[in-house]
């Protein structure tokens, strides 16, 4: 009925307004800014030119940081899958009455500020931190072993931040698997490992791929772990954007880098959609 057509739009209006006001319009501003010029004082000069984009690609410095970001994002995804699948599977198979408490433990880190969680590693891995203190006390080393401010600690910070996202995605996907399928596989002669490999793993892949996409996108845009736990040369692309926008007041160039990052992420999401289907993400939450 014609008179009913406005209803879905009316219901969607609040969320659509939020998306337009908080996402679409700001992104449009960023795109417009990326063509502007910056005065030496830090003032912005309206213009339409591609100099900011040309500057990004004129030598390998900026693309190098982008490539490093992508590499670190892939490494984080792999680590999160490997380290996230096991606890998710454990929760899925667990019949323990403490299962809900275990799940709550996964969420527990979110109760503490991300900055505090990241900085706490300094007290654990620092030269006068817990690990060095214990190693010196038990006589394994005489002088502190330097562990902080390198790419390893950046990866660790990212893992700590993103692992719960991966675990929850995989767990929700696993929970949607009908356990009678596993019983059927076992009845037909499959070993436990074969049942996992042939039934559980393929059916949980939507959750794995949803978690991968989420972890990848979040890693590509994060800047706190490299800033707090990284050393010289461990900056990622978000740190570069932060420095250009905040450090040098160069909003046009910062915007151009943001647009390049956004475009790259768009290509990755598009590729994901093309070959895996973005609807897999929703499937992982609906069960299979």
């Amino acid at each position: 009925m014609k008179s009913e057509k406005w209803k879905p739009w009316a219901l969607l209006a609040p969320s659509l307004s939020a998306v337009v006001l908080l996402l679409v319009i700001p992104v449009c501003f960023v795109i417009v800014y990326s063509f502007w010029l910056r005065a030496p004082s830090g003032a912005d000069i309206p213009a339409f030119q591609l100099g900011n984009y040309a500057k990004f690609f004129e030598d390998f410095f900026y693309p190098g940081i982008l490539i490093r970001t992508i590499r670190i994002a892939f490494e984080t995804v792999i680590l999160c899958v490997v380290m996230g699948y096991i606890p998710a599977y454990f929760f899925y198979r667990s019949e323990s009455r403490y299962k809900q408490i275990f799940l709550l433990l996964i969420m527990l880190p979110f109760w503490v500020s991300f900055i505090i969680r990241t900085m706490s590693w300094i007290n654990i891995m620092g030269d006068s931190g817990l690990i060095n203190h214990v190693l010196i006390k038990i006589g394994l080393i005489e002088t502190p072993f330097s562990m902080l401010y390198n790419e390893f600690t950046v990866l660790m910070g990212l893992l700590m931040y993103l692992l719960p996202f991966m675990v929850l995605n995989i767990y929700v996907s696993l929970e949607g698997i009908d356990k009678s399928l596993l019983e059927a596989a076992r009845c037909m002669g499959c070993t436990e490992w074969q049942a996992f490999r042939e039934v559980t793993l393929p059916l949980s892949l939507p959750g794995v791929s949803a978690g991968c996409l989420l972890v990848f996108v979040l890693t590509a845009g994060t800047y706190l772990p490299p800033m707090i736990l990284g050393g010289p040369g461990n900056d990622m692309i978000a740190n570069l954007i932060f420095k250009r926008v905040i450090g040098t007041l160069d909003w046009p160039f910062g915007s151009a880098i943001s647009v390049i990052l956004l475009s790259l992420l768009f290509v990755i999401v598009w590729t994901y959609n093309r070959y895996l289907g973005i609807n897999q993400i929703f499937k992982s939450f609906q069960g299979n």
Partner: protein, 387 residues
């Protein structure tokens, strides 16, 4: 004006559900409610808040022990004396604050007074059009301030003032006395920051090209305000990068790295070093010849209620308040020691000058450094990142 209250909206909603009101009228009330919310939010936020708020003024400073000193010794007594509330904001560095000022609506309009770090920042704010013109007759305590600190400001704003000088300090070298002897530090001077024995134990301020280039200039025997051999500067910074454990990003991080002995030597703000020393950490302070000195100002931004701002500035320059703040933040005040009796604690602080003339102090030349800011910041960022 009719006020849209929750009760009225509930009554309208009931009427709509019962079919006693048309959709058009219902939407009108919803629209009015939305408009009310919109007025409270941006972009009219400033105007509405100003109209509704009692007299108040916003002050943004460096946070930590510095802000604590301002709060305890200046803002609380000021509010008690005048009834004007001081809204106390904080920033981590000048650039992030300037970004917020630039992004405010109207630009600069949400902010009132800022604790600026040096004359070059005063110049930047003036160039961006954020300055105001203070009525100096309403700030009689300005007469107690060192003329040598006022003069550079007048040169930039052509005789008028948009800020009052408040304190001065240095970015010198902090070193761990357990691992570096005083004799060695004094012998090496600025070159201590290039000591290969400290590989993996060195720190520096990552957020400021100026400080790093300044010490590279001293290390390569050049004048920081007229560097003639930039290649030598970049080479020195690249060499130093190999020794570096961490480029720190804030005063709090600087103090944590030194206190936890993650680093043994770094450029450091004199007040923060004094705070560490007072806590009993084995940290020495070195100010080699040509040490980077700076003067800090309380800058009044365009659009601020000048009467209120001038009252606060005059109150803060009152000797009792200025001395208490100086002792709290560990930086000497701008008060002229030849006019105002200062305490022994202040007289022992780095950067204190008993003559009040500041002869021999080396400050960053605003026009020289500001004119190269974009180019040198980018170069510094590249070197820091390994280029």
């Amino acid at each position: 004006m009719a006020t849209v209250t929750k009760e009225k909206l509930d009554r309208v909603y009931d009427a709509y559900c019962n079919g006693r009101i048309s959709r058009r009228h219902f939407m009108k009330y919803l629209g009015l409610a939305g408009a009310s919310l919109g007025l409270i939010g941006t972009p009219f936020a400033g105007a509405v808040r100003d109209a509704l708020a009692a007299k108040s003024i916003r002050f943004d400073g460096w946070g930590g022990s510095v802000s604590e000193a301002f709060r305890e010794h200046a803002f609380k007594p000021f509010t008690k004396a005048t009834g004007i509330e001081v809204i106390d904001g904080e920033f981590g560095d000048m650039n992030s604050y300037l970004t917020r000022v630039k992004a405010s609506y109207p630009p600069g309009g949400e902010f009132n007074i800022a604790h600026l770090s040096a004359v070059f920042d005063y110049a930047r704010y003036v160039e961006l059009g954020f300055s105001s013109v203070l009525d100096e007759s309403k700030i009689p305590n300005l007469n107690n301030v060192m003329p040598s600190m006022i003069k550079p400001l007048r040169e930039i704003t052509k005789g008028s003032l948009s800020a009052v000088p408040y304190d001065l300090g240095q970015t010198g070298i902090a070193y761990n006395t357990k691992h570096i002897s005083k004799e060695k530090a004094e012998k090496l001077g600025a070159s201590l920051l290039w000591d290969k024995d400290l590989k993996g134990k060195m720190g520096s301020w990552g957020g400021d090209f100026r400080t790093n280039m300044w010490y590279a200039a001293l290390h390569t025997n050049q004048s920081p305000n007229n560097m003639t051999d930039l290649k030598a500067i970049w080479a020195a910074l690249r060499e130093q990068r190999g020794l570096m454990k961490k480029y720190w990003a804030s005063g709090a991080e600087l103090m944590s790295l030194l206190a936890n002995e993650e680093i043994y030597a770094t450029v450091a703000w004199s007040g923060r070093v004094a705070a560490l020393q007072q806590e009993g950490h084995p940290i020495g302070y070195l100010s080699p010849k040509g040490t980077y000195s700076w003067m800090e100002y309380l800058f009044v931004l365009k659009g601020t209620d000048l009467d209120v701002a001038q009252q606060l500035l005059n109150f803060m320059l009152e000797p009792a308040a200025a001395i208490a703040v100086a002792e709290g933040q560990n930086y000497p005040p701008s008060l002229d020691p030849t006019k105002v009796a200062l305490t022994d604690k202040i007289k022992k602080m780095p950067a204190f000058d008993p003559t009040g003339k500041l002869d021999g102090y080396l400050f960053a030349n605003p026009s020289y450094w500001n004119s190269h800011q974009v180019e040198w910041t980018e170069k510094w960022d590249r070197i820091k990142a390994g280029s």
